[in-house]
């Protein structure tokens, strides 16, 4: 055995660092940078010619189309009806969904009766039912409201009863042990406890609502973002098509941001 293989015991060495990582850290501006770089690459590609003008429109042209849409006043002509449809439809669907979801969470008979029904409704592509809705509710706003309402209803029901199920039963037992009435327990323990789950379910429901809004407007609507996109698509007007898509994306970001605000306000206790 030679001394050379033995570690040097005389000089102190720092312990090598092995920890760290595996934890997401907030990095400001990176998301925006990715977005900007992507747009610049596309802009460069379309100008240099290695992206054909039938493949993608020039981002600057899409921007110009957006500006033109705004300046001609048509933006509100399209956006107004769309927002109204989304608001009415999802308000109907979400309030019914939360109501039914809470009932499923609270009553075993309702759960046994309705959960299979909801499971059967959930995977139906609601767009396929649009012709039916047109007959039931008319070609006007009624069928569009119904489509968005049904589309937001099922995911809201599922997330709501899941949230009610997840309320800590120890808190319910505490309420009972202090002699709280049934209604008090529901109002003061179950509903606030289920709120985080209900709100995160709303993000999904509203995104589905936006998808269905466009689908509804593609069938028989004069004005609306969906109609605008469909029109542009059938003329192969890529700039206006993408301008419509950008508006829809922005709509998604805004709804998500609004829910974030509501969460921040109502769930301050989570810290």
């Amino acid at each position: 055995m030679s001394d050379a293989t033995l570690p040097d015991t005389a000089t102190p060495r720092p312990v090598p660092f092995r920890g760290g990582g595996f934890r997401p850290v907030a990095k400001r501006g990176v998301g925006l940078a990715v977005f900007v770089v992507l747009l610049l690459v596309i802009e460069w590609g379309t100008r240099a010619g290695w992206i054909g003008n039938l493949t993608l429109p020039r981002p600057s042209d899409v921007g110009a189309a957006l500006v033109e849409l705004y300046q001609s006043g048509m933006l509100w002509t399209h956006l107004g009806p769309s927002l109204a449809r989304l608001a009415v439809g999802s308000l109907l669907g979400i309030s019914a969904g939360i109501g039914v979801g809470v009932l499923i969470g609270l009553f075993s008979y309702i759960r046994a009766g309705l959960v299979p029904l909801v499971a059967a409704l959930f995977p139906i592509p609601k767009i396929a039912l649009l012709p039916l809705f047109v007959i039931w509710f008319g070609i006007d706003e009624g069928s569009k409201y119904a489509l968005i309402a049904l589309g937001t209803f099922t995911p809201t029901v599922v997330s709501t009863y899941g949230a009610v199920d997840n309320v800590d039963r120890a808190l319910v037992r505490m309420g009972q042990s202090f002699g709280l009435g049934w209604w008090s327990i529901v109002r003061k323990i179950i509903l606030p406890g289920a709120l985080p789950g209900i709100l995160s379910g709303l993000r999904v429901s509203l995104a589905i609502g936006i998808i269905l809004l466009v689908a509804a407007e593609m069938l028989g609507a004069e004005h609306g973002i969906g109609a605008y996109v469909l029109q542009a698509g059938s003329l192969y007007d890529l700039e206006r098509l993408f301008a419509g898509v950008v508006i829809l994306s922005a709509l998604g970001v805004v709804t998500s941001w609004v829910i974030g605000l509501v969460e921040k306000r109502l769930l301050r206790w989570r810290g």
Partner: protein, 255 residues
């Protein structure tokens, strides 16, 4: 108000967890229930407070609870069971609201129990801002607010660290010394039982039966560390429980 348990037997899906338990808890005294894990201590406490129904036997109240008592049998839970979305005051007000106590009267009770548990400065804090010991103080304050005839304490100190446990034990003793309450205190910690109990019931492992009920004559606030009688009781408790605890530890869980 005295409490009497008469021949209580209870099963969980066919498996007996408690067998023929009879106990008497006189008013103003604390009964500690000790036993190895899984012996049904906590189940017994749920039966006493009416959160579960025993398969056989009865839990009986003797005499009327005091007239200003809002909730005769009141729990303090191991996991505190505080509503995270309510402040300390809100958590206490929760148990008063359903008894029609609101406004100034409720505020008076809340301030009183917060003062008794040294929490006066923390009324507006949310549970997440509090340490475990403070949370359990809030739970104790909440229990005191309904002026219980009997307090049912389910391992109230088990989720806390050793120093906090010691502090809260002193608080409990001081509360009892100030206004003796009837208490049923479930624990697996023998020294807590010896510090606090007027009598100590030892349960066997599943199915839980009463092995022995030991009484200690010294009133709890007068007990001092190193008291020969207390050490003797604790050693005796351990000799009763040692083999049971060992067997319980080696049991396979098939629930």
């Amino acid at each position: 108000m005295d409490l009497t348990l008469a021949n209580i037997t209870h099963h969980y899906s066919g498996l007996p967890v408690l067998q023929d338990i009879s106990l008497h808890i006189p008013a103003g005294q604390i009964l500690c229930i000790v036993g190895p894990s899984g012996c049904g201590k906590s189940t017994l406490l749920r039966l006493i407070g009416g959160l579960e129904r025993p398969d056989e036997g009865d839990v009986l109240q003797l005499g009327a609870p005091p007239p200003d008592c809002l909730n005769p049998l009141t729990y303090v839970f191991q996991d505190f069971a505080l509503l995270p979305w309510r402040t300390v005051r809100g958590n206490i007000s929760l148990v008063l609201e359903d008894h029609g106590l609101k406004g100034a009267e409720a505020e008076r009770i809340i301030s009183d129990v917060l003062a008794r548990t040294n929490l006066s400065d923390f009324g507006k804090a949310l549970p997440r801002q509090l340490s475990g010991g403070m949370k359990q103080r809030v739970a104790i304050a909440r229990a005191l607010a309904v002026n219980p005839a009997a307090m049912l304490l389910d391992e109230p100190l088990s989720a806390l660290d050793a120093q906090t446990r010691e502090l809260l034990m002193e608080d409990l003793l001081a509360l009892w010394a100030r206004q003796p309450f009837t208490g049923i205190y479930v624990t697996h910690n023998l020294s807590e039982a010896v510090r606090l109990g007027h009598s100590i019931a030892v349960l066997s492992r599943r199915p839980g039966r009463i092995r022995e009920v030991i009484t200690i004559d010294t009133p709890p606030p007068d007990r001092r560390a190193g008291d020969a009688r207390l050490d003797e009781v604790q050693a005796h408790l351990w000799s009763l429980m040692r083999d049971e605890a060992k067997a319980a530890d080696q049991e396979l869980l098939n629930v």
